[in-house]
Point group: C2
Chain length 193, copies 2
């Protein structure tokens, strides 16, 4: 099992001692997920926190009209999960689907709670993670309420250039909150200028 990227990731935030590394190795389980497979579906309770080793995921929800809306993508060294469902232990409204064949590391909610009690350092680490995620979401909210779709698309490309050749325009459109047809028009306009 390959926990090295995860341990490196934690080390960058706050260096781990050996005992903490052992815990990580013991309680994060590697799992392979095929393209199109779900690691969470609406109605299920999110019982794992997931770290992506390889591959790509999207998290989305389906509105009353049956339309999908992407909330987040996750590639190597990103976290993904429905925090809301995870914490409240309520049925999730979200889907998390592998966009590519992927490899992930997962920790069970129960084990993560023990982690927080037995190794307090992880409270600091996960606080930092949550705060970083907040900053990202706040940034996205700023974009959503103040920018046009074209500006949002350009910002998306600048912010996540890794996604450009990896995620279809349909998925990007869904993330930006526009129809694929309109994104196509935007791309045409950008190409011309």
């Amino acid at each position: 099992m390959n926990t090295k990227p995860l341990i490196d990731y934690f080390n960058k935030i706050l260096p781990l001692d050996d005992e903490e590394k052992v815990f990580v190795e013991a309680f994060f389980k590697e799992r392979r997920v095929k393209r199109r497979q779900f690691i969470l579906q609406e109605g299920e309770i999110c019982m794992h926190n997931t770290f992506v080793l390889e591959g790509c995921f999207r998290m989305y929800f389906i509105d009353d009209k049956g339309k999908e809306h992407n909330l987040q993508f996750a590639v190597e060294n990103w976290w993904i999960g429905d925090i809301s469902s995870f914490h409240a232990e309520e049925p999730s409204k979200l889907y998390i689907e592998a966009v590519e064949n992927s490899i992930i590391l997962q920790i069970k909610k129960e084990d993560q709670l023990n982690l927080f009690v037995d190794y307090p350092k992880f409270n600091r680490i996960f606080r930092v993670l949550a705060e970083n995620a907040m900053v990202g979401l706040q940034q996205r909210t700023i974009q959503n309420i103040s920018s046009t779709a074209e500006e949002r698309y350009l910002d998306f490309l600048k912010r996540y250039p890794q996604f450009f050749n990896r995620i279809s325009n349909i998925q990007i459109a869904s993330y930006l909150g526009v129809t694929p047809e309109f994104l196509s028009a935007i791309r045409k306009k950008i190409a011309k200028s």
Copy 2:
């Protein structure tokens, strides 16, 4: 100085012992802020974390066209601050302005960091706070990319009924990402039905 609401607030998340209460009383400072006064302006580094005892604030940014966009409101028992600037110690792009005469409790960044080291329980508390904030922002992102302005307004009223008689429609429109004129049209339509 009235730290009781803050201690009650912490106790609800994770009960504090006496030593921790003393720390809170020692390091959170009460401050009175008049209507229209700023506790943070663009260009400043956000050096405090703020808890609202009384009154109401709005946090906003100004886009390249000079337009204001509200990111968040905060009333009694809410936190407010530019986390991004607070953590990175970079100049903020945001303004935080008192909408009413207000009373707040503030802790300096330095003291909050000591708090995390000396009283690890606060790592858990602030991790929970950050996670709650994430859930809220995620919810708002969902709304932004999938709902019409009318739906967003109705959801806003349902979620924050306290704001209805307290915050002007201009401020609500800015929070929702629409013009005041259009919000006015929405309100007219809702009133009819």
